[in-house]
Symmetry: C2
Subunit: 199 residues, 2 copies
DNA sequence: GCCATTGCCTAACGAATGTTAGGCAAAATT
DNA sequence: AATTTTGCCTAACATTCGTTAGGCAATGGC
């Protein structure tokens, strides 16, 4: 029982931290800001977490785990490369829209990590990017995708699907699935008008 | 003469500031960090600038001006929408690669501006985005581009061409023009393989 | 009913922050 | 030659920062 309460309080702190880190940035958010939002004193946070950075680490690595797990699942389960890419984009967009604050921190505030966690984090990011590289390579083999510069393409794709994090509002007219569909369409087809003979 | 020296010292401070703001972030960069890099004392900076924020403002608004001027020129001079988009992308990439530090600050650190400058900055960003919206609308009229959701497409395009700021290194194998070409190709054509009959 | 744990508190610390005041030498101006 | 301006300095300020120490009331299991 005490254990349960403890966990839920910890989660509450992490959530509020993510919200403030997104809003003002990690460095500009003080432990006192955080405590005020929680209705407690700054010192009390140290009962649950041993430092401010531990909060950042928790958020960044939890999200990294989510993204990687999703991408690996896609690469394991789905068959066709186009289907895989669509699914990976869909899950990515869903993860961002369902965890807006934490995603923001994952995407923008990770550079405030200090070594050796910083290095570890970069490796996880790389792992995630690799999953996309695999999909593109599959697509090329299947003769579905163009023979593009993989690294370049992966970074372009990720930058595009990450950017929704800066403007997506849950009350907006598009839901996560609609956004993912549009993004997939745009990424695969581009802007240029296609002839009817084109696939 | 004094005037010239003064200006050049001011510029030197701005350049170092941009470098550190990119490296560590605006909030995490102290006036003492800045001074140390310049080989002077923190207090001495206040002879040239009246506050830390003034440095941020200078960088953000100077870059905003560059981007907007470029885009407006493109929209004035070039005729065809595809040509316009290519040119706008090219100039954007050039501006980023030629001003890496300042561009980083423009793209990521502007949110540390405080009102009323923050509001003004947002308006300038909007102005820039609008120039791209115009190009897309032109392209649609000319039946070159798909009938895409303009706001969505503009944000996707900008996020893609902005992301190079995070990985571009001058010593890399691609120069600004090659990057711009690849980006244009990707943005307009997407990933999917086109048939020969396609334009 | 006793005791340990939980979850918070107050108070304080040393360090770092942005900024100001006042001074001083060299250079530019007159 | 006298005077002003430039560009920096030292010293200090009030504030804020992350964090620690120690205490105290409520809650849990025994």
């Amino acid at each position: 029982m005490a254990e349960i309460l403890n966990i839920s309080r910890k989660e509450q702190i992490v959530n509020v931290a993510a919200k403030l880190f997104k809003q003002k940035g990690f460095v500009a958010t003080s432990m006192r800001d955080l405590a005020a939002e929680l209705g407690i004193e700054a010192a009390s946070i140290y009962y649950h977490f041993k430092s401010k950075e531990e909060l950042l680490e928790k958020i960044c690595f939890d999200m990294a785990d989510k993204f990687i797990t999703n991408a690996k699942e896609v690469n394991d389960i789905y068959f066709n490369a186009e289907e895989k890419l669509k699914m990976a984009i869909k899950l990515h967009v869903e993860t961002i829209t369902e965890n807006q604050n934490q995603s923001s921190v994952f995407l923008s505030e990770w550079r405030n990590l200090s070594e050796p966690k910083l290095k570890l984090f970069r490796q996880l990011r790389q792992q995630y990017e690799n999953q996309f590289t695999i999909i593109l390579a599959d697509g090329e083999k299947e003769d579905i995708f163009d023979d593009v510069d993989k690294k370049f393409a992966v970074l372009s794709i990720l930058s595009t699907i990450n950017f929704i994090n800066e403007w997506y509002k849950p009350e907006g007219k598009m839901n996560a699935n609609e956004i993912a569909d549009k993004l997939s369409y745009f990424i695969m087809g581009g802007l240029r008008k296609r002839l009817v003979t084109d696939r």
